[in-house]
């Protein structure tokens, strides 16, 4: 037997607070921004912008999608704005000399830093849409239907794009196109 209150809560779960979103998803947001091309030196600032936006828009969040999906859209916009600003400044993030060597590098395992650096460089070879697709599928583990919703693109199109993105990543990693 489900009482009316429980049913109401189940149907309309309480909207999370900014703090709850931050506590649950800050590390996720950092990772998404990082692999969407925000360089380490700017990661802190761009992530602040993301959570300011979360705070501004939380009242409008209706819970129709997962918080992560909603947050991803905000990160995606922030990363896109970031890349545009970098382009305007003629500062190409891909050419960042300190990539893979953030100020907190000493606190992170070398293997992770190396992996991050290698994959980021490979991802820089992709265009924006391919990069998003690759990150969402291979790094964030979303399903294709979920990605189709986020990127507003048919699933069938995503399959072919993923294949092309994988080939490009393998090529950038210096591998033949095996496994794409």
């Amino acid at each position: 037997m489900v009482d009316a209150h429980s049913l109401e809560v189940r149907m309309n779960p309480p909207r999370p607070t900014t703090r709850q979103v931050f506590d649950a998803h800050a590390a996720y947001a950092l990772r998404v921004l990082r692999y969407l091309g925000v360089r380490e030196a700017d990661l802190h600032d761009v992530c602040q912008e993301v959570f300011i936006t979360v705070h501004r828009k939380l009242d409008a969040f209706e819970g129709r999608s997962e918080v992560r999906t909603w947050l991803y859209a905000i990160c995606r916009n922030a990363a896109s704005d970031y890349r545009r600003r970098a382009h305007v400044r003629r500062e190409v993030p891909a050419e960042e000399p300190e990539r893979g060597a953030p100020e907190l590098a000493s606190l992170e395992p070398v293997s992770r830093l190396e992996a991050r650096s290698r994959l980021q460089l490979a991802l820089d070879a992709l265009d924006e849409r391919a990069r998003e697709l690759f990150v969402l599928y291979e790094i964030e583990g979303l399903t294709m239907p979920e990605i189709a919703e986020v990127l507003e693109c048919p699933v069938q199109t995503l399959y072919s794009r993923l294949h092309a993105a994988r080939k490009a990543v393998l090529s950038a990693l210096g591998r033949d196109e095996e496994g794409a």
Binding site: T18, F22, A26, Q48, I52, K57, M144
Partner: protein
């Protein structure tokens, strides 16, 4: 998790990806950064986005954020008003990447030296304020000069950098809004000069609009509100701006 039709991920055993590539992607999937990075973000955002609870550290030094103001500004007030202003440092801005924890200069300390000392009937003049436009008035520079003096008196080598902090300026504006809206307006103008494309432009504009309204400069408030709505048509503050100036 995958749907039945999803191709095998590179991290799946069934994938044909080379082993070293699989390992590479696995490492990146587990790349959550460091706890220090998250805590640094929390230190920067926390005092602003989730103010200290009543009774918490610094609660006794709460800034001016009356119920009326909070209602009028809605989220802007919640965002900008620090429960522990004067005790809690707010660290926004690209210029600050350190993990400093020392307090920002208190509002009262700054007020005593930085704000033009003229009578309140002669508030700092702000000429034709516009979103993200370069400043044209002298008033913000007066504030700036005073702040530099305050920092000089402060004696801390890092104090000067505090003046470049975005949220700090808006905190000053928020603290002055109810009692000295002219000074609040000057603080927003200084914020605009320093951070024309800052992360808190919308919050600054909301504060400036209310300051103008409180100063009785209704035409300017309405004009600035109209520019705000035009510049940020999807802003969460849109209705709140309208409520401040009475639905232009």
């Amino acid at each position: 998790m995958s749907t039945p039709t999803d191709p095998a991920r590179w991290t799946d055993d069934a994938s044909l990806a080379p082993d070293d590539v699989r390992e590479l992607v696995n490492l990146c999937r587990a790349d959550h950064g460091t706890p220090e990075q998250v805590e640094r973000l929390r230190a920067a955002l926390g005092p602003v986005l989730w103010p200290i609870a009543p009774g918490g550290a610094g609660a006794g030094k709460a800034p001016v954020a009356s119920g009326t103001t909070a209602v009028a500004l809605g989220k802007a007030a919640a965002l900008i008003a620090l429960a522990g202003a004067g005790a809690a440092g707010v660290w926004f801005g690209a210029a600050h990447r350190s993990t400093r924890t020392e307090p920002a200069p208190s509002a009262s300390a700054v007020r005593s030296t930085v704000v033009p000392s003229g009578p309140s009937s002669e508030p700092p003049v702000e000429v034709a304020p516009a979103v993200a436009a370069p400043p044209t008035s002298e008033a913000p520079r007066a504030v700036d000069a005073g702040l530099a003096s305050a920092h000089s008196n402060h004696g801390s080598p890092s104090a000067a950098s505090e003046a470049t902090n975005e949220a700090w300026w808006l905190d000053q504006a928020q603290a002055e809004l109810a009692s000295e809206p002219g000074r609040a307006l000057a603080a927003t103008a200084e914020h605009r000069r320093r951070f024309p494309h800052g992360a808190l432009v919308q919050e600054r504009e909301v504060l400036a609009i209310e300051a103008l309204q409180r100063l009785g400069r209704q035409a300017e408030a309405r004009a600035r509100a109209a520019r705000f709505v035009s510049s940020f048509p999807d802003s969460a503050y849109r209705e709140k701006v309208r409520s401040v100036i009475g639905n232009p």
